[in-house]
């Protein structure tokens, strides 16, 4: 097994899995019915991407299946960004989290559709259509809320300020990524960083949102198995039946 590729596949998969899970928690809590529906749609797309990627990871692993990877791992084995495990504090946090991640996904999958790894390339190509639509929606919301009422402007600025520190992780280059980048499998993080900032700047300007300073972040990144306090509760819920009935099939 190519352990670099396995780790990288899980990083991609877990971002979609955990963000999709967060959106599933929000069902019936949306500000109005159409938005509830649209968010569930986004969640479903993300879980579909997670499923495809986890299947690929399971294939590489050879001893487990995608459901084991989704529901059976230890917390330190999940490799998602801290950003996506941030809870649904309210709609403002939810849509800001979504926007920051949507920009990353669009930029990342645009590059990954030309990955030298055929499976990653094909999943990226299919996912790109979905995340492009997600980004269109979340950008529109950032603009609406940023340039809506004074209350919504202040609120969304606060959400951006508070979530900003989690964005650093997106561009952190480690050895795993560096080796895969050289092989043409992983996307070039320096390109991602440039394009991500360009898109975020563009939307923030229309939305009259001010880009915060990036503080120094001092937790072990999610992609290296470190997690925030939020992750334990998320997993306790998501893994509940697997933990309670390890052998059963559903």
């Amino acid at each position: 097994m190519n352990t670099d590729l396995y780790k990288y596949t899980l990083r991609l998969a877990d971002n979609s899995l955990i963000l999709g899970h967060r959106l599933s928690e929000y069902i019936s809590c949306g500000p109005f019915l159409e938005e509830d529906l649209a968010l569930t749609n986004t969640g479903l797309d993300l879980l579909g991407q997670a499923e495809a990627l986890l299947k690929y990871a399971a294939e590489q692993n050879g001893t487990v299946d995608e459901d084991y990877l989704a529901f059976g791992r230890e917390e330190y084995e999940y490799a998602n960004f801290h950003l996506v495990e941030y809870p649904n504090e309210d709609y403002g946090y939810l849509i800001t989290r979504q926007f920051l991640m949507d920009v990353f996904n669009v930029v990342n999958y645009t590059l990954l559709k030309d990955s030298k790894d055929a499976m990653i390339a094909s999943i990226a190509a299919k996912s790109l259509k979905e995340v492009t639509y997600h980004l269109r929606r979340s950008s529109e919301w950032m603009i609406r809320l940023g340039d809506g009422t004074q209350e919504s402007h202040d609120k969304i600025q606060e959400c951006v300020n508070h979530l900003w520190m989690y964005t650093d992780e997106m561009f952190d280059l480690d050895e795993v990524h560096e080796r895969l980048q050289k092989e043409g499998i992983a996307s070039d993080l320096s390109v991602i960083k440039k394009q991500w900032h360009a898109k975020v700047d563009e939307v923030f300007e229309i939305a009259t949102i001010i880009k915060p300073e990036l503080p120094k972040y001092s937790l072990v990144y999610g992609k290296d198995g470190g997690h925030t306090d939020f992750m334990g509760y998320l997993l306790a819920e998501m893994q509940f039946l697997k933990n309670r009935f390890p052998k059963e099939v559903w």
Partner: protein
């Protein structure tokens, strides 16, 4: 009754009834007796609210679904219900009342939703039982309503029925899988059937003799079949499905009657039925409180969207 038929123009009333008798659909712009409109306002909005409140007991398990596949299916199912709510609010709005008003009436306790959603869903098997029984009962009712006399309502029912059979199948599949599983899983499935059997029979409403709106609704073809007939259809369809996978409905008196070609069952506990309708079910307060909270929490978002749309409009006017 607030809207007496005697106050209506008798000629218009006769023409109206003639249309109904000839199976011509009534459309929003057509003349209709006020009592007909009020009856539909009550029924369609109650139906819409039921779809939306019904998202809660299933939403309760979506974050604990045991596999990727079941999580996705459950999400898609709940999403459909949100869509049904939308179709129905649109149909209800053609009667001259806004969605905001309908939601306000719900929050004030002036509008109802299906009582069945006032029961809790303590295990994963409840996701099976709800899809199989609650959606199963809803289908029987909704298939009948495809022929209802009000055009927008009938058309909404046609769209909804296309999706409902998937809901019923996914629920039954959850139950069937549990019944093929461990003893704990089989017990989970039987317990859920025990919990949901009677509430789903209650979904069809009181006996026709005790139903406040039945006879006029039948004459106007808002309702096409009686509560008891629809309930019997559901019972006849469901008991064999239970037996097929090794489940038993919680009714000692349930047995096949070869003469009538129907199942016989015990009578429903009507005290329980009226008690839950009056608001004393296990989850009445919580379901409504959840809806009110989500609506209130979303106020700043809706206000921002509205303010932004107005700004855009003004820009267009200036340009």
């Amino acid at each position: 009754m607030a809207h007496e038929l005697e106050n209506e123009d008798p000629i218009k009333l006769a023409e109206f009834q003639a249309k109904i008798d000839a199976e011509i659909k009534i459309e929003p712009k057509d003349w209709m007796p006020e009592a007909y409109r009020q009856n539909l306002i009550r029924q369609i909005s109650q139906h819409a609210h039921s779809e939306v409140i019904g998202m809660q007991p299933e939403g309760n398990w979506v974050s604990r679904a045991p596999s990727l596949r079941s999580k996705k299916i459950l999400m898609a199912k709940i999403q459909d219900e949100a869509g049904h709510g939308l179709y129905l609010y649109c149909a209800a709005e053609t009667l001259g009342v806004s969605r905001d008003q309908y939601i306000q009436w719900l929050h004030e306790g002036k509008a109802k939703y299906a009582s069945v959603f006032n029961y809790p869903s303590p295990t994963w098997a409840d996701m099976g039982a709800i899809g199989w029984l609650v959606d199963g009962a809803a289908i029987v009712n909704q298939v009948s309503l495809q022929r209802t006399s009000y055009g927008p309502y009938a058309r909404a029912m046609v769209r909804i029925c296309m999706e409902e059979s998937f809901h019923q199948r996914q629920g039954y599949e959850i139950m069937a899988r549990l019944m093929e599983g461990s003893e704990a899983q089989r017990k989970m499935a039987q317990d859920a059937l025990d919990r949901w059997w009677w509430p789903s029979l209650m979904m069809f409403g009181p006996h026709d003799s005790d139903s406040a709106h039945s006879s006029q609704s039948m004459k106007w073809k808002i309702k096409r079949e009686s509560n008891d007939d629809l309930r019997q259809q559901f019972i006849d369809k469901t008991i064999p499905q239970a037996e097929l996978i090794g489940l038993k409905v919680p009714d000692e008196n349930a047995k096949w009657n070869a003469e009538t070609n129907h199942y016989e069952t015990s009578d429903i506990d009507w005290d329980e039925f009226w008690n839950v309708i009056k608001g004393n079910g296990p989850c009445n307060r919580h379901r409504l409180a959840h809806h009110i909270k989500a609506h209130k929490d979303g106020e700043w978002v809706r206000a921002a969207a509205q303010a932004f749309a107005m700004k855009q409009n003004n820009k267009l006017k200036i340009a």
